[in-house]
Each structure stands twice: as C-alpha cells, then as structure tokens.
Amino acid sequence: MREKLFDSKRSALICYIIPGYPDYETSLKLARILLENGADALELGVPFSDPIADGITIQKASYKALISGINLKEVIKFARILRKEYSAPIYLMSYLNPLFKYGYEKVAEEMRDSEINGAIIPDLPVDLFDDWYRICEKFNLETVLLCSPSTSLKRIKMIESKTTGFIYLVSIFGVTGAREYFPEYTFNFIAKVSKNTRKPIVVGFGISNPLQVKEIMKYDVDGIVVGSAILRYFEKERK
C-alpha cells in the first residue's frame, strides 16, 4: 500500500500559481478562489530568471512577476498570509539558485515559521539532494523529488528513499505548458512508478482537461498539478 497524500481518501488537486502574477493583489485573490473551490493544495512558483523547466505560459508570467519585484522573500510572505486563512498544504516551486543564494538554513527556517509544507526544486537532482534533505529534516519540511519518463527504476528507488512528501512525476519529455493529450509513454511511465513505490505520487506538466485526468487516475495516482492551464484560463477570463 502506498502512503496517502494529505491523508485524503481521494486524489488531490494541486494548483500552481505565481504570486505577483498578473499582480500581487489579484494573485492573492486567485489563491483564495482556488482554495475555496476545490484545490487541495497550492504550489507557489518563485519567479526565476532562467526557468529551464517551464514553457511559454509560466515563463511569461514568471518574468512579469519578477520585474514587478517578487522574489523568494515575497513568496514566503504571500504563503504566510494564506496560512493564516487556510490549512491546505502549500509548497514552493523554486529553482535551486534563489534558495541556495538565500541560504538553505535561512529559507527552511522561514518556511517552517510560515508553515509551508516543502519546496519542489526542479533543478536539484537526487545525487545532490543530501544537503537539502538534512535541512528539511531539521526544520520538519517535506521533501519532493521529481522523476521523468527517462528515469530508471534504480534511480526511482533512490528518489523514493529521499522523499518524505511526494514524488513528482513529470509527465512528458519537455517543459510545462497546457497540452491536449498525452503520448502513450506517459501512461507507461506513470504505471511503472505507481507499481514500484510506496510514496505518494503526483503527476504534473501539461495537464489541462478532465479527460487527461481520468486517464491518469487509472494508475492509482495520489494527486495532479495544474499550472499553465489555470494561468491561461485566468488570462482568457480577464479579457
């Protein structure tokens, strides 16, 4: 039996937004709307100058938030505001360098004080994870590691051993961004990880419609992340 995510009986919907996009107040409002209408958890994107795992939607949004002055500190503050109002899990999605520059210890302490559950760090591979792992242990934060369709079973086992939160499955070879459907290999990959781990698994990248989610759910997945699709829908509605 796999461990359950957020002690939930059903799979979790994790929504990704970027504090400061399209502006600070609106993003705070968006976070509240999501949490009050079915989001089980939030993933807060920390704007970064070199978002190597992100497609055009998040790249643009991240850039806009970045030039408006949003940085790691601001995102933590944003989470603290939400934490006073909601008990849902909140994760940071940050590339490594802002965390590294801020200092692992300092950022982890502030995350703990703001009751942020953990950080998703797409450019920190499992081979270099030990320092962050120790800090998370010390400050009682969850660790989240990513794997992709090209990750070997041996490596998935390594990833599992460092995971205290959930394993984040990157659905495709490529970057974030809403897609209509997934290639066959996505499902083979999800099935492989699902069968071989006891840690909760969450699928992200490219999820934009209920049909995709239905397909993914066949593989006993504990949660999904939706990001670009929310930002895109939100932009459309604003217009």
Partner: protein
Amino acid sequence: MKTYVLQDENGQIKTTYSIAPGLDYPAVGPEHSYLKDTKRVEYVSVKDEEAIEAFEILSKTEGIIPALEPSHALAYAIKLARNLSKDKVIIVNLSGRGDKDIDSYLKFKGISL
C-alpha cells in the same frame, strides 16, 4: 559540484555581455570553479578594447587571426610580459581562430566594408 554564477542578491541570473560570443555566458564550467578554489589557477579579467588590441597585434605580427575568446588571454599575456624578464617563456592557449569574429571586429571598430 557548484560553479560561480553572475547573479543578483536574490539569486537571479544576470544577463551578460562579452564581445567574444564564447564568453557571453553568466557562469563557467565547474572545473574552473574547482581550479580557482584549489588555487591551481588564478583568473583575471580583460576589457573589450584590450582584447581587440591583442587581436590586431597577433594578426599583424604573426599573420594569425585569433578568436576573440583567446584574444583576452593574449591581451593579458602582453600585459604580463611587460613585467617579466626577456628570458621568461609564456604559453598562451590559442583556442580558436578569428575568422568567425571579423564581423564583430569591424562592428567594434565602426568599419563598414
């Protein structure tokens, strides 16, 4: 393995400029960071004007057009040689040829053909 990166106080990577395209990058290979930290290598910087001047000197004196990347090294070698006795030998790794950089050179000098 970590490497040195040009960044701001928030860890955002800075945009870069160099007249040599091969140096127009905000980081270096981690080997260089290691060599710096172990004090095996001492790293210095060279300005555009100095690299261009070295580019001209080697072209005129040896008939070899150096790439703009090693032109930086040549510029420093010339500077260094002034402070050394004549019997000292300096080795410069001329890592590339400058045919590819003629456009950049002409642009820098404001020459149009």
